[in-house]
Symmetry: C2
Subunit: 348 residues, 2 copies
């Protein structure tokens, strides 16, 4: 059970007011990313004044100065005042996670949160009332066809793929090393999107063959925008719900199950079980709720997010264990990584 | 200068991800308020299951359960699990600040943040680029006439007045006791809106006559919706920019200056100085930036908020001192309350 906010909150609601201000902090960081603030500060050889930043980014001086001052307050940008003029520079954290060019950049995750999820959450009241996603009210898109909404244009597809890519850039290594997967020689990442998680796996297990199977349009976009020189993974076009699932030793389902209702997931896992080589398995990557659903806070937030955006939700480990067992898998093992996403391995 | 986020953030960006999640926390609380969750839990004699809450509020069971679980995680709602069923109850903090019926309710502040400011901040990028408010892009309203936008309908006027009212319910006492105002026998709160701050002043200084002067439509709405039995204050219809300012010992300008550009504010203060009885004064209530603009964080956020919504900004004390001195006032005293809003007193 959660402890209450401290008693002093009854004297003055500092913490509550901080919660109310949360959307402003998110949007300040998101907007700085969209404007290219962190890229500019990284590239600059020296600290820059607000006037210089405004000139380079084509913004108002007053607006960018207020934004930079907020970023300083939350310790994402650094400042030095010389003879009354503030000179701003980047911090290590911003250079690593917020600049677009960093290999660990969360830029695409931020763009997706800012441009898609933030407006969707403006309709949270209706999502809770209706118990369904708000793609229709927010973007005029059919609420029943989640991925028709998410993939409504190449630009939107690219944004969503960027989101997935960002996640596995910071969480992928923990997922592929949660268990020793070296015995699985052929691996298929079902719905593997940009291939970021598959690449982490191929790097960790160089003797395995790793294939991303995804919708034709996704595979084509992945090859156009996310391909790497000497890429260590293959792409295959397909539809794992409607079409065939090729045989393999290990299947990965990373952030797939949480999008859908139980019957659809069970059908999918049975189909995977049938295709799987004997002794093979399935690796699920999801954010796991505690068994009693009382945390982690971030996963509870993700689950509410799934309501607003999909037809699925987040679950505790027992849910996945039951689903996997019902589909015919055995020896289910759960690994909490301590990061955003956790791993579950089950064998055929 | 702000300290950096801790070095461990470079290993995994927990704090950054928390910042990115800020908008979800804000909207979860806002939405629970809008749905009446806190009122229901306060009125209920016993803890309620998600099913019961859903029935009473007319929401989906699944949606309200996920929302309640998030509120538990952030310690605003309490939970007890009995034989596998979660029963939710309110906390002291929620009863005091989030239930609509509480005398310290922030309900109206939340509604305004949720329905007006949250959507405005979706256009923060444009606000920074253009250096101006986003009333036009967000709501199709002219950006030059701030209060035509804010007061575009009686419903919107009521929401804005509720926001102001909420603030002074929690901050008003600190403002009126920041200085001994007992020598000022006639007090006019210019733009005093619902009268919440004026009532705090009348309560603290019962021998003073306190009048709220505001636009006719605002006064009429205040009397219809915010009047109290045996009200201790008077209302007067007027326009302190365009019309006359009646003589008085003390004028209050609470969150007025920060809406407007400097020339307009200086003109207003000169006009007040002319109307003011000899030995009288003006009391300004605003959130004060530090002199070097490096904080407080919340005030920097407010200043960015002013960009998105008005033509003004927040300032450090020296700005107000200069403005007041230029208008003819003397003996400027500044009092930081340690809460959201601070007080400045100047004499004629």
């Amino acid at each position: 059970m959660a402890e209450h906010l401290s008693q002093s909150e009854l004297d003055y609601p500092f913490k509550l007011l901080e919660y109310f201000n949360g959307f402003r902090i998110s949007k300040a960081i998101f907007s700085a990313c969209e404007l290219g603030v962190f890229d500019l500060l990284l590239q600059s050889q020296k600290p820059m004044s607000a006037v210089e930043v405004a000139q380079k980014l084509g913004t108002s001086e007053d607006g960018i100065e207020r934004l930079l001052d907020v970023l300083v307050a939350i310790e994402i940008v650094d400042v030095e005042v010389v003879q009354g003029t503030a000179f701003y520079s980047s911090t290590d954290v911003a250079n690593l996670y917020l600049a677009k060019t960093s290999p660990k950049s969360l830029h695409d995750l931020i763009i997706y949160n800012s441009q898609t999820i933030y407006p969707l959450w403006n309709n949270l009241v209706d999502a809770v009332r209706e118990g369904k996603n708000q793609n229709e009210k927010t973007f005029g898109l059919p609420s029943e066809e989640i991925f028709s909404a998410i993939y409504r244009s190449e630009e939107e597809m690219l944004k969503f793929m960027g989101l997935m890519n960002s996640t596995w850039v910071i969480d992928g290594h923990d997922i592929v090393t949660a268990f020793d997967l070296s015995s699985f020689k052929t691996v298929i990442d079902l719905g593997g999107c940009s291939g970021a998680l598959a690449r982490e796996l191929a790097k960790e297990y160089p003797s395995s063959t790793v294939t991303v199977l995804d919708l034709p349009a996704v595979v084509q976009t992945a090859q156009r925008h996310f391909a790497q020189q000497d890429d260590t993974i293959c792409f295959q076009e397909g539809d794992f719900f409607e079409g065939e699932i090729p045989p393999a030793d290990l299947y990965i389902l990373a952030r797939i199950i949480h999008d859908w209702k139980e019957d659809k997931n069970l059908k999918l896992l049975k189909k995977i079980h049938t295709a799987c080589h004997p002794g093979g398995g399935v690796l699920i990557a999801e954010a796991l709720l505690f068994e009693n659903r009382r945390g982690p806070t971030m996963v509870q937030m993700f689950s509410l997010n799934m309501l607003v955006q999909t037809e699925g939700k987040e679950h505790p480990p027992s849910h996945y264990t039951r689903l996997l067992t019902d589909a015919g898998f055995r020896d289910v093992q759960v690994c909490r990584t301590g990061k955003s996403y956790d791993a579950i391995l089950a064998l055929k």
